[in-house]
């Protein structure tokens, strides 16, 4: 009996300083505790709410851990086939130029099976936003090696570590994309600390605002953890990410207003 009493007593308008955005559906997320997806969902939906563009936004969800993103995001959404989200978004934006269109994709989806769709949509300079979650693993299917899996990193299909001689090198697709003329804004962010979360949200806002000006692709990579796939606790996985992922996938802006940022890895 106590709990409902406490809730109603506390949930008064004057007490609320922070709340779940109405653009996130009130249901449990399907993500593992500790995963970064939920945070990115929230930042994206908060941004749409703050911009007041819920009714003008069409999202495209991928295949992978975030295949059910449309169940959590309270906007109109279309679930793409594996890797094809940029093709869907291309046509949607071309036929609805006044809408805000984004894709939300993982590393397997965007950088393996969907590489052609990703590269060509970016190269055409389509005017939508790509949000790319890179955790270096196929989470949904149970922790297989991804295109972004680090050298030596273990996964269920590289159980002795990724041998780059036989399994290929991890693909820095974000750097690749930054070099395409159709791409206006490329940044790499993270969501494992409040400071990083704030930066990611800022990047999302910048990317969506850019759609009003028809400047081409805005591409946000979020380097994230996969504590389940990496077989770690959430805390361990964030530490491991800082020590291993960030040196290989350095955070920060890579391209801003159509120009490569001098300090970025690409420019070096």
């Amino acid at each position: 009996m106590e709990e409902p009493f406490v809730k109603t007593q506390i949930r008064k308008d004057e007490n609320i300083v922070y709340k779940r955005t109405s653009l996130l559906v009130d249901r449990p997320l399907s993500y593992c505790p500790g995963c970064g997806h939920g945070v990115v969902h929230r930042m994206l939906m908060e941004t749409l709410e703050e911009m007041g563009i819920q009714d003008k936004t069409i999202g495209v969800s991928p295949v992978g851990c975030s295949v059910l993103a449309y169940d959590f995001m309270n906007i109109d959404m279309i679930g793409a086939a594996h890797g094809r989200a940029p093709a869907l978004a291309t046509a949607i934006k071309r036929l609805w130029p006044d809408k805000f269109v984004f894709t939300y994709q993982g590393d397997g989806d965007l950088a393996a099976i969907g590489t052609a769709e990703t590269i060509h949509a970016c190269n055409r300079g389509e005017n939508f936003t790509i949000i790319f979650i890179n955790n270096g693993i196929y989470g949904m299917t149970g922790g297989q090696m991804a295109p972004t899996t680090l050298p030596g990193m273990r996964s269920s299909t590289s159980p002795y570590g990724r041998n780059v001689l036989t399994m290929g090198h991890p693909l820095k697709i974000t750097e690749l994309i930054a070099n395409l003329p159709g791409v206006n804004y490329v940044t790499r962010q993270a969501v494992h600390t409040p400071n990083h979360v704030r930066k990611t949200k800022k990047a999302i806002r910048k990317a969506l605002e850019q759609q009003k000006e028809n400047k081409g692709i805005a591409f946000i990579e979020v380097v994230s953890n996969c504590n389940s796939g990496w077989k770690m606790t959430p805390v361990q996985s964030n530490k491991w990410m800082e020590e291993n992922m960030f040196p290989f996938y350095p955070l920060g802006d890579i391209k801003v207003d159509g120009k490569l940022v001098q300090s970025s890895e690409v420019a070096k």
Partner: protein
């Protein structure tokens, strides 16, 4: 009466799309259908009607562009030829599963594999039996003339939106490439945004505060839910089977024998009929126009009136399976076909009738 023009089948498809009020075309070059996109690009439909035309990086991308646009209620079309259509099967299956309308034109060439660029009808099974994964069907129209290449575009859009399902025009390299006179239907204005939203309340067009958010997907992880999806699809296909059958007959009233053929083969069989009748053979022609829904009842009825049927196809014997399922085993039904881009001559069709059915 509409405008009369001399056109290639592929050009007629393109012009018909503009006139039908199509919102977007997405395609990838492949012989023998490249004139569709070439015509559209030259015609600047963006200036004529506001229609968007985009050359994609692959057929995989084209069909997924259709999937995305169709999910927002737009009228969209692609065209390709056999190998390209194989690449599209993933997207077609997703569209069937998500119940999205779109028009896909297959100007069939000989296979398997890279095959040849010459005409063929070897994609009948792929078109009619599903093609991609899962239990689904497409509405399949089989034009036999440049006129029908034009008219079937309009019809395919109507049926696709009526039933919220992808519709295919199953043509071939000869009908795509040949020039005939065609009467173009009067242009239909593209739907406005307000019309689109009111006519397609299921479409993902941006969520206003007044309704729940719309999700376009073919995914349902709950087996009971996915079975419900399948049952709904099957009920829809039964409704299509009941209501949308189209076919044509020629000289069947006194016929003792029957040619059964679709598309280009039916055109050849018309000449074969004349040749056979000059010899005193009473033969008629049954031409299914919709391959799905197949004219099962009509075939069954006509099967009771004739002594035998020759199914003429530019493949190794595909539609004959549907003919036999419709007619049963009471009469002789045989297949005659040429493959790999060879078009049968009217004479060899008559000879096949004489040896396989009459004398056989």
């Amino acid at each position: 009466m509409g405008e009369l023009r001399l056109m290639k089948g592929n050009e007629a498809v393109a012009e018909a799309a503009i006139r039908a009020g199509c919102d977007g075309y997405f395609g990838y070059p492949i012989t023998p259908q490249s004139e569709v996109m070439e015509y559209l690009m030259a015609e600047k439909p963006h200036e004529r009607t506001g229609m968007v035309v985009l050359q994609a990086e692959s057929e995989t991308a084209s069909i997924n562009m259709l999937y995305g646009a169709a999910g927002t209620g737009k009228m969209v079309m692609t065209s390709s030829s056999s190998p390209g259509i194989s690449l599209m099967q993933e997207g077609i299956s997703y569209m069937a599963g998500a119940e999205l309308p779109a028009v896909i034109v297959n100007v069939v060439r000989g296979g398997p594999g890279l095959g040849t660029i010459q005409p063929s009808q070897a994609d009948y099974f792929q078109a009619v039996k599903g093609g991609g994964h899962g239990d689904y069907k497409m509405i399949v129209l089989a034009p036999a003339s440049v006129q029908e290449m034009c008219d079937h575009v309009k019809l395919a859009f109507e049926l696709a939106f009526k039933y919220r399902t992808p519709a295919m025009i199953l043509s071939d390299g000869a009908i795509g490439q040949m020039m005939e006179k065609v009467v173009l239907f009067d242009p239909i204005p593209r739907r406005t945004e307000a019309e689109l939203i009111s006519q397609n309340p299921w479409a993902a067009t941006g969520k206003p505060k007044t309704r729940e958010h719309i999700i376009i997907t073919s995914l349902d992880l709950d087996p009971a839910g996915q079975e419900r999806v399948n049952l709904k699809l099957q009920a829809k296909y039964r409704k299509i089977q009941e209501n949308e059958v189209l076919y044509e007959t020629l000289g069947v009233d006194d016929a003792e024998y029957l040619f059964v053929a679709f598309g280009l083969s039916a055109r050849i069989c018309q000449k074969s009929m004349d040749l056979a009748r000059a010899k005193g053979i009473k033969v008629g022609l049954f031409r299914p126009i919709t391959l799905f829904p197949f004219p099962e009842k009509q075939m069954n009825a006509i099967g009771k009136k004739v002594k035998g049927m020759l199914v003429v196809e530019m493949n190794a014997g595909q539609m004959i399976e549907d003919v036999k399922l419709s007619v049963g085993c009471s009469i002789k039904i045989e297949h005659f076909g040429r493959f790999g881009g060879i078009i049968p001559t009217p004479d060899e069709v008559v000879k096949a009738l004489e040896t396989q059915i009459i004398g056989g």
